[in-house]
Subunit: 137 residues, 2 copies
């Protein structure tokens, strides 16, 4: 297991609540930077993944934007090659696209997420990214 980040931009926050952790493989942390349901209508959060941690396949009805801040990880859309991520990378997740994201095997990983068009509905969780899929990266 690699060292954690010495300095993260945002506070790492809490371990994922169980209702979300149930859709992750491995341990991640969560800091809600901007709540939804207000005049801005644009929930923003910060997620920190331990090495090897990733979320299950899922969909966002209104899409999502990821801004990679620390470490290295992966983003993959169903039926496409996984994209290796570095700090500074921006990921535009299309509305309804089945995808997952998470850390690489040997690095912690953190990103900001921006929930776009949040009035179109909330995340739809699907099946786990299997060890075979992940270890083949």
């Amino acid at each position: 297991m690699e060292n954690e980040f010495k300095n993260q931009i945002f506070h790492r926050g809490i371990e994922l609540p169980k209702a979300i952790a149930d859709h992750f493989t491995g341990k991640a942390y969560f800091n809600q930077l901007v709540e939804g349901g207000n005049d801005w209508n644009c929930p923003v959060g910060y997620v920190t993944f331990q090495p090897g941690c990733r979320n299950f396949w899922h969909r966002h009805p209104g899409g999502q934007i990821l801004l990679v801040t620390e470490g290295n990880g992966w983003y993959q859309e169903w039926g496409q090659e996984a994209r290796y991520l570095n700090p500074g990378d921006v990921v535009m997740i299309p509305s309804g696209a089945k995808h997952w994201h998470g850390a690489s095997k040997d690095s912690w990983f953190a990103h900001i997420y921006i929930e776009t068009n949040s009035d179109m509905g909330s995340v739809e969780w699907l099946e786990e990214v299997s060890e075979e899929q992940y270890s083949a990266l």
Copy 2:
């Protein structure tokens, strides 16, 4: 003049185009991370201010969110005390609120901005933050 950041999360980008630079005191750099006018409808950018640089008073019809990533700076709403900003700070700028933001006198400063409710209209630029206002901070 202090040293610049050794490592910025995002590429610093270009010097502000003249149409925007005309509403800034001092020099700033700009990297458009996410364009507007697409399915996400949520423009995102990254602005880096030299020490002493700040924008003029302005308003966003749909509000704006700032995520401070590096350095130290200020955010002020009209008629209120200026708020000193550190990395990790989140600023929620209300719809229509007259405000400015920028670097402190002796520090470079960088933030992400998220344009919310962008269909409500674009920025309205107002008068400069005077040297008296700024130097009194």
